[in-house]
């Protein structure tokens, strides 16, 4: 008596093969082409502003083994410890061998808004392309122009220490079906221009929701509970809710929040220091007053 017939084995093999084909097709990258990039005259000052609100330097800072490079040059390599492993954020300076020197505009837009590297590999979303996808494409190109203005630093960052990385990376293609919302940011006509500016900075380049929003079972942002606080990216502890900051008496009003962003503990505001927010706050403090006010207006009105 045969429990498993030859045809059963054949069926299973076919099923597994179909599964692999499905996995391969569904996880395929969908990059933009050069023709998708509009004509754009780069504005380096705008790029710098967006680089600051994005806090790019906080992750792309030079690693401990990089010598003679100032801490505010995004030469990469500072270890980012996450629950999936240790990541080494890459070098963003224009070095041709180890940085973004040879990257074209479409390469950069694909990374920032599609989560794809220059060989069309899926990027690990610790790099918050999930937020940058909402940005205006011109703003992305301005950031590229600003990065190109740095002096090139030769620094080949270490490969990420993530188990089964090729499978994880390809699998991210599947994850993008559920976890990646590419809709562009839209203004709300019922709100002030300043609120809308704040909304754009917070939801796009600022990528605040990456930490301040809970995640679903699939590790995508739970948009139904936007800004209600989330797990800390390093794995331990929580990131607080941004809703009802005034009602819960964390801050008196938007103006109070502006003072907190701009001064932090130097003016006695101690709630923006821990868990990495200290660096975020310092990056926000680099923005022009109007943008800090806009962010405060948007955030202090989250109910």
């Amino acid at each position: 008596m045969k429990l498993i017939s030859k045809s059963t084995i054949g069926g299973l093999a076919l099923f597994a093969a179909l599964g692999l084909v499905f996995f391969w097709m569904a996880s395929a990258p969908h990059p933009l082409n050069a023709a998708d990039i509009p004509e754009h005259t780069a504005n380096i000052d705008n790029g710098k502003l967006l680089y600051n609100i994005g806090g790019c330097i906080s992750c792309h800072a030079p690693g401990p083994d990089v010598k003679n490079v100032a801490a505010d040059i995004p030469a990469g390599g500072k270890p980012f410890i996450t629950p999936i492993g240790i990541l080494y954020p890459p070098n963003l300076t224009p070095d041709r061998d180890t940085g973004l020197g040879y990257w074209t505009e479409v390469d950069f837009v694909n990374a920032m808004q599609k989560g794809l590297g220059p060989s069309d590999e899926h990027l690990i979303p610790a790099f918050p392309y999930t937020s940058y996808a909402h940005m205006k494409i011109g703003d992305i190109l301005d950031i590229k122009a600003y990065l190109a203005s740095f002096a090139a630093v030769k620094n080949a960052t270490k490969p990420h220490e993530v188990l089964f990385q090729p499978i994880v990376r390809r699998g991210l293609g599947l994850w993008k079906w559920v976890g990646f919302d590419e809709t562009k940011w839209q203004p709300d006509a019922a709100q002030t221009a300043s609120w809308n500016r704040g909304s754009y900075l917070v939801n796009g380049p600022g990528h605040c929701s990456e930490c301040h929003t809970p995640r679903t079972l699939f590790m995508s942002s739970d948009t139904a509970r936007m800004f209600q606080g989330g797990p800390h990216p390093e794995g331990k502890g929580k990131v607080p809710s941004l809703r009802g900051l005034v009602e819960r008496e964390r801050y008196k009003d938007a103006a109070d929040l502006v003072l907190a962003f701009q001064n932090g503990e130097e003016l006695g505001y101690d709630k923006m220091s821990s868990g990495g927010m200290g660096e975020v706050r310092k990056n926000i403090a680099l923005l022009p007053d109007d943008d800090v006010k806009a962010i405060a207006e948007f955030v202090s009105n989250l109910k």
């Binding site: 502890g237 130097e266 003016l267 006695g268 101690d270 220091s273 821990s274 868990g275 200290g278 660096e279």
Partner: protein, 151 residues
């Protein structure tokens, strides 16, 4: 050359900061004491910050009283961090692991705060007070950024 005496002094300093608690019967007592210190500091900032922001007038006596209360509540700082106070089964603590894994940096951060605190206490007039206050805040931040865990 490191003499026996300086080695002894260093060992004492390390014991003071990290060794088994000298002044506190248990880790929980140390947690309670440091939380009372932080609470007093918070209350003190509630008095000082409005003077900096201009909502309250400069008053040397009020400032001195606030700083004294802060100083007293934190006088035992060096004993606040015994190894058994890293975690507690009954109390919530946001003391970060780096306090114990990087004690040198923690001591430096605490020292920076104490220097700023002493300098602020020594100020004699409004201009001096306002000029020195930022460093006190930076001192608070120096610990809160690296050594206070997320919520």
């Amino acid at each position: 050359m490191i003499s026996k005496l300086s080695l002894g002094l260093m060992a004492t300093a390390v014991t003071l900061v990290l060794g088994s608690s000298i002044s506190f019967a248990s880790g929980d007592d140390a947690i309670k004491a440091r939380q009372a210190c932080m609470k007093a500091n918070g209350a003190g900032m509630g008095v000082l910050v409005p003077i900096i922001k201009g909502g309250k007038p400069y008053d040397a006596a009020v400032i001195s009283a606030a700083l004294d209360t802060m100083g007293k509540a934190c006088a035992d700082w060096a004993n606040f961090w015994p190894a058994d106070s890293m975690k507690s089964t009954t109390l919530k603590t946001r003391a970060g692991e780096a306090i114990w894994s990087d004690p040198k940096a923690f001591e430096a951060a605490g020292g920076a705060y104490y220097t700023a605190f002493t300098a602020l206490k020594a100020t004699k007039d409004e201009a001096g007070f306002k000029a020195a206050f930022g460093d006190l805040g930076k001192g608070c931040g120096g610990c809160h950024e690296k050594f206070r865990a997320p919520e």
